[in-house]
């Protein structure tokens, strides 16, 4: 018993460190590639590491008007909740470490925690700019949570019609049984729509242009993060990096859980290596199209426009996807 526990602890440490490093490397790639697309040279790919190290040694300023304990607690909460998410996701083709203790519904809630932490941190900062940012973040959450929830529910429900009695919201079950091959043509269109909705929710969840409205540097000087500095800022930075991996892995697990090892006929250690490498590429492709290309190609939109966009067209797309999947199963 103690052996399994020790094993789990080791695995947990590997996942945490690996997920963080991966997030930082993806962040570096994001900055480099975005710069290249904008006709700039861009920072070196290891720049996020420099940034975090620099932030860690900088002074941690707490504004006079801030509610100190809340202000200092929120970056920690944000980082802890995103790090927890790593344990519930199938990373690199392996089973999620805590797969038996939580499912997609828990992930939906855990995804909301960093945003709530930022909202509370923003309000606790006691600065008008951070307050505006926190209000905007709340509106953003209300806007994108609905299509996200519809996507999760539709996938789980569709799988439940194929496998009655199975734990359909468990990510390992969802990842082991990709729906693409099971549903008919209508269902495939439905899945594509749900995938599109998730791809549009991803930059909003990560607060990237065109949805970086709560941070909007030119408008509210960083908004929620306006007052944060030093160690607290580094924790938000790390949380952001890990969340990128989380969103990428989530999309990959839900829609593209395929591995290469079966195809090339490898098993054992080499099979795992190929699967992990393929998984990294898949996550990168998702991040590339959902975050990097989008943030280069668009201007920041306004909070009202973003709310309308998510409540009407994006919710519409996800509901249509749900409807098509339902029709596919019953007609």
């Amino acid at each position: 018993m103690s052996g399994t526990l020790l094993n789990a602890v080791w695995q947990g440490i590997v996942i945490l460190v690996g997920g963080t490093l991966l997030g930082m490397i993806y962040k570096g790639l994001d900055r480099k590639l975005a710069a290249q697309m904008q006709g700039r040279i861009g920072p070196p790919i290891r720049q996020p590491f420099f940034d975090v190290i620099k932030l860690m040694v900088k002074e941690n300023v707490v504004p006079d008007h801030a509610v100190g304990w809340l202000y200092n607690l929120m970056p920690l909460l944000s980082l802890a909740s995103v790090a927890t998410l790593l344990f519930y996701l199938p990373l690199g083709g392996f089973q999620p470490l805590l797969g038996g203790f939580g499912d997609l519904i828990l992930i939906l809630y855990l995804l909301a925690v960093p945003s709530i932490a930022m909202v509370l941190g923003g309000f606790a900062a006691g600065s008008p700019l951070a307050t505006v940012g926190a209000q905007r973040e709340m509106v953003m959450m209300m806007a994108y949570e609905f299509p996200l929830a519809i996507t999760f529910l539709s996938l789980g429900w569709t799988l439940s019609t194929f496998m009655p009695g199975a734990h359909v919201f468990s990510l390992s079950v969802l990842a082991a049984n990709p729906l693409w091959g099971m549903v008919g043509p209508l269902g495939v269109i439905g899945l594509i729509l749900l995938f599109a909705a998730l791809m549009i929710v991803t930059p909003a969840e990560l607060a990237k242009i065109p949805f970086d409205i709560p941070e909007a540097e030119t408008e509210i000087a960083g908004g929620i993060l306006a007052e944060y500095s030093g160690r607290n800022m580094a924790m938000f930075y790390l949380a952001d990096a890990i969340k990128m991996v989380v969103m990428g892995s989530l999309t990959v697990a839900l829609f593209f859980p395929y591995g290469l090892s079966g195809l090339v006929g490898l098993s054992g250690a080499w099979g795992s290596v190929i699967d992990v490498a393929f998984y990294l590429v898949k996550v990168f492709v998702v991040i590339f199209f959902a975050v990097i290309v989008v943030r280069v190609a668009f201007a920041r939109i306004k909070i009202g426009q973003a709310a309308r966009l998510f409540w009407l067209p994006i919710t519409g797309i996800s509901l249509l996807g749900m409807l098509l999947l339902t029709l596919d199963r019953f007609v």
Partner: protein
């Protein structure tokens, strides 16, 4: 709690506004100015504008130096309008002293002035894109802008502060061997213009952020005496080059550009300002081309020797007004010369931003806090041009004056100056 009191509470809640300060140091601002916004949620219901953070007392310094030295100072009022101020200043002094400017010099001044408009408008477009969170467009626009900067460097030796105009003419010629560089740059911009229009005016996210944002109606523009592209975007056909042609502009038919020229209805929003500025880049290219093709031959300065020039200026007395359509609007320099002194007896600068400052208020009202950066940028403000006064009490702390006090003070000063 009964219904009535609940209603009352809700009413009080809705009526509360809060204040968000923007500036004097804020990422949305490229130069210091302070806005105080009264917000109802995200909506702006009131705005207070406080300028005066970039005052350096340049006019005062100029009045302590001889006119040639003051010319150098005038060039350093602003880094972007670094030809507009000297152009207006030299015209003012030439008017006061009755000095003629040879035609070739007038054409060269026009060419440099229009090149400045090209690079200034492109700079503005990039800044505008950045304020919208569209950094890709910022980098591409500024990359395109480099060509005009390179050409200016090739023609004048400097990327900013071109040191071209001097009383009675210009300091440098545009020789035949350099003309092809200018033609090359003009062709480059002609080829890119449609791309620029596509990138800015046909982009959905730019349109979402600028259409019906920061609207300045025709009536407001006229009433608040807005100038330059700010007024023209509201449909006011106002352009010094058209209304009172000077330099080489009299030889061509310059027309004030309004959004009608693009074929759209005039709304007076930020989108219209983009239209006007992009079309003005095209107009400037045409003007430069005309000037290059029709460049008259002849001397560069009617008084080529600086000591002779200084002696002439020292003998001169009188008042002069110089005006120029700077990229941001009309800039006016007033100069009074007295016989026997080398310094200007009075020097007054009115920069375009000064006239456009009040246009900000109707533009901001009713829009959202998210629109603040682009509306602030839309008039292309230039604080260092505009800040001509800063009030401080004896201990150096900034103070304020009401309108009545200011009128009284200015009348006293006018009497003092006029003796």
């Amino acid at each position: 709690m009964n219904n009535q009191s609940i209603n009352l509470d809700v009413g009080q809640c809705a009526a509360t506004t809060y204040t968000v300060p923007v500036g004097p140091v804020h990422p949305a601002l490229k130069e210091p100015i302070r806005f105080s916004f009264n917000l109802d949620g995200e909506r702006i219901v009131g705005v207070d504008i406080k300028p005066g953070f970039a005052h350096r007392g340049i006019e005062h310094m100029g009045m302590k130096r001889n006119l040639v030295q003051a010319l150098y100072l005038s060039e350093r009022i602003c880094g972007i309008c670094s030809i507009s101020h000297p152009l207006a200043f030299t015209q003012a002094v030439e008017n006061a002293a009755g000095i003629e400017v040879p035609p070739r010099a007038q054409y060269i001044r026009t060419i440099i002035g229009e090149l400045e408009r090209v690079h200034s408008h492109l700079l503005w477009a990039g800044v505008g894109a950045h304020e919208l969170g569209f950094d890709t467009l910022l980098h591409l626009t500024w990359n395109v802008r480099e060509k005009s900067m390179d050409l200016l460097e090739e023609l004048t030796g400097n990327r900013v502060d071109y040191a071209i105009p001097i009383y009675s003419g210009v300091r440098r010629d545009i020789p035949e061997r350099k003309a092809h560089l200018a033609y090359e740059a003009l062709e480059y911009y002609k080829g890119l213009l449609q791309d620029m229009i596509d990138a800015f005016l046909h982009d959905k996210s730019v349109e979402m952020r600028t259409r019906n944002v920061g609207v300045l109606t025709y009536e407001q523009a006229v009433e608040l005496c807005a100038v330059g592209p700010t007024a023209r975007a509201s449909g006011v056909k106002k352009d010094v080059r058209q209304d009172m042609p000077y330099l080489a502009y009299a030889d061509m038919n310059v027309k004030a550009i309004t959004p009608e020229d693009y074929g759209t209805e005039t709304i007076g929003d930020v989108y219209d300002m983009i239209i006007v500025r992009l079309l003005e880049v095209a107009q400037s290219i045409e003007i430069i081309e005309f000037c290059l093709e029709n460049l008259p031959s002849g001397e560069l300065m009617s008084i080529p020797k600086v000591p002779a020039l200084l002696a002439t200026l020292k003998k001169a007395s009188g008042e002069g007004l110089g005006r120029h359509e700077a990229p941001r609007g009309e800039v006016i320099h007033y100069v009074r010369l007295e016989e026997g002194v080398e310094e200007p007896a009075a020097w007054k600068v009115k920069a375009p931003t000064y006239s456009n400052l009040m246009a900000w208020v109707p533009m901001f009202l009713g829009d959202e806090i998210a629109d603040v950066p682009i509306i602030a940028a839309s008039i292309d403000p230039c604080m260092c041009c505009m800040d001509r006064v800063h009030l401080a009490d004896a201990s150096g702390i900034a103070s304020e004056r009401t309108k009545e006090e200011l009128v009284k003070l200015s009348r006293e000063k006018t009497r003092r100056i006029c003796g």
